[in-house]
Symmetry: C2
Subunit: 206 residues, 2 copies
């Protein structure tokens, strides 16, 4: 039987968000792992399986291909509890998802990459690293304040906003050199996500 | 009669997107203009009208306040032709909206700001300006390729994806020093948007 195919990067937070939602909602798919600088990634690009060369890429059974982790989450969460249907709650979900892609991912994930990859070392100037540290902490302060008052980001149950923000918050924050002990409400929220039925960690691959 | 209130920054592309959709859909609202470094902005912040200090902020008549331009667009477009209701088209809309907030706005709007504001001049190093130029051009190449094949970004008719991408593409691209003559399909798409019934330019204020 034909099923959805997901091209994803095992180490990437954006790719992980999609794998996590698929696990939490019990949807079956074929996973094609394309790690950075791998033969599999090159083959997938050469074969045209990655529109604009981007990961993650979801191939639906009807031939449509979706990119952008947030857009893929939206599609896969339709008709599940992870995406409420009323417009106001949907806007609350998108508030956090846009905040994450515009203010968190370009800072927190980038600082983690600059610390992790030797070939990026010349971009990791002291000024830039300090700026990314301060900027990331400012975003965590906002997230902490919200989670000190709310169990979940956008509704009274977990939604794709929680999955989207969790992606880099749990994986790149410490790797990026952020002191997460300063943010206990974020830590407790991560614990709640990790306790959800079907949860899989980033390292888990189908 | 009570109506929605929009706090927005007249010169900002993110704020303009919301004003444009309101005009295109004929929705009435009270506009509170909060320009950068203005008394009006300080007063709105001090009065607690801007959650997290952010603009634009939409105050609904029931007391709810929405931030993040993309989330506000989503809410305001519900039940209008600017937001199709099927999940696949919605994902196609979000592909471009996330791309814009993650890859375009942080590059194109930032380069325009660095060129426009004297107090940011010390951040506008030659290396950074060249990097922002190359990065922005790479995003315009992708946009141009899509618009060479499609009249609108995500459907057969304009959606909030077109409005979101138009916001900075038309206003900041030239201000940011990008040579838009290289991208004729983008220019023709801008013309189509400007021809929509109800269109208002960035400079128009309610």
């Amino acid at each position: 039987m034909s099923e959805m195919k997901l091209y994803s990067m095992p180490s990437s937070g954006n790719s992980y968000k999609v794998r996590l939602l698929l696990a939490l909602t019990g949807q079956t798919y074929t996973h094609i792992a394309c790690e950075a600088v791998s033969d599999a990634l090159k083959q997938a690009k050469d074969a045209g399986h990655l529109p604009l060369g981007k990961l993650p890429a979801l191939h639906l059974t009807d031939g449509n291909v979706l990119t952008e982790s947030g857009a893929i989450l939206w599609y896969l969460a339709s008709d599940t509890g992870f995406l409420p249907s009323d417009p106001l709650t949907q806007a609350r979900v998108l508030e956090w998802m846009f905040f994450e892609q515009n203010r968190m991912e370009p800072v927190i994930a980038v600082r983690a990459s600059l610390k992790s990859y030797p070939h990026l070392a010349d971009q990791a100037t002291p000024d830039r690293m300090e700026s990314l540290l301060n900027d990331g902490n400012a975003q965590f302060v906002l997230l902490e304040a919200h989670l000190a008052q709310n169990d979940w980001l956008s509704a009274d149950a977990p939604t794709i906003a929680d999955i989207a923000v969790f992606g880099y918050t749990h994986s790149s924050a410490s790797r990026g050199g952020y002191d997460m002990a300063r943010f206990p409400a974020i830590g407790q929220w991560c614990d709640r996500i990790q306790a959800l039925p079907g949860f899989v960690p980033l390292e888990h691959q189908e």
